[in-house]
């Protein structure tokens, strides 16, 4: 069973600061997805990365997939209160649509 560990578990920073969230596993992923979840809602897909070393940008968010495809990071530049939420990484493997979710990082941006 593939386990995904996210760090930090909790993060509280001031508006305008930068931050990085990490997702690590001892196993290789075929693809890695990042979701953001707000209270009372389902997770919302932010990005999917499939190629080792891949970097994707979504406005102020930068996602990186490790060369060995065992880790990923999410970097947010100039954080805003709207970025507040639970950030989840999730992995899947070819031929299997099951998503394995990480433990989550709860991010709070203080105005």
């Amino acid at each position: 069973t593939q386990l995904l560990e996210q760090s930090p578990q909790f993060l509280s920073i001031q508006e305008g600061e930068n931050l990085t969230v990490y997702c690590n596993s001892s196993s290789v992923f075929s693809s890695l997805q990042w979701y953001r979840q707000e209270p009372g809602e389902g997770p919302v897909l932010l990005v999917t990365v499939v190629t080792g070393g891949e970097v994707k940008k979504l406005k102020r968010l930068t996602f990186q997939f490790g060369d060995a495809r065992k880790d990923s990071s999410l970097h947010i530049t100039a954080a805003q209160p709207g970025d507040t939420g639970l950030y989840l990484c999730a992995s899947s493997n070819f031929g299997n649509e099951k998503l394995t979710f990480g433990t989550g990082t709860r991010l709070t941006i203080i105005p």
Binding site: Q33, G42, P43, L88, S92, L99, T103
Partner: protein
């Protein structure tokens, strides 16, 4: 376009009862999956269906069952409810991996 819709949004059941949760996927999505999310944790995989066939099952007891209908909607059934079944149950639909899932807002189940 309508997203993934789940019903009901909230419900309260008593231990030992049975519950049925419903999910309508995004139009054109043939894959539907169910996840359980306990407070403070990430979602845990329960089932995945594609074209009415079960394609995957997570580590959940036989009290949990599901099915998918010809219109690709799906139901999740849980029998003999336990207090530990209290959670947010999420339905997600997809055109296939690795394109990601669209999740519904979930059904909040409380077992008392």
């Amino acid at each position: 376009d309508a997203g993934v819709t789940q019903s009901p949004t909230h419900l309260i059941k008593t231990r030992g009862q049975q519950v049925t949760l419903r999910c309508s996927p995004i139009s054109g999505h043939k894959s539907v999956s169910w996840y359980q999310q306990v407070l403070g944790q990430g979602p845990q995989f329960i089932f995945q269906y594609y074209e009415k066939e079960e394609r995957g099952r997570g580590n959940f007891p036989d009290r949990f069952s599901a099915r998918q209908f010809p219109n690709y909607s799906s139901e999740l059934n849980v029998n003999a409810l336990l207090l530990g079944d209290s959670a947010l149950y999420l339905c997600a639909s997809s055109i296939g991996q690795p394109y990601g899932y669209t999740f519904g807002s979930g059904t909040r189940l409380t077992v008392v």
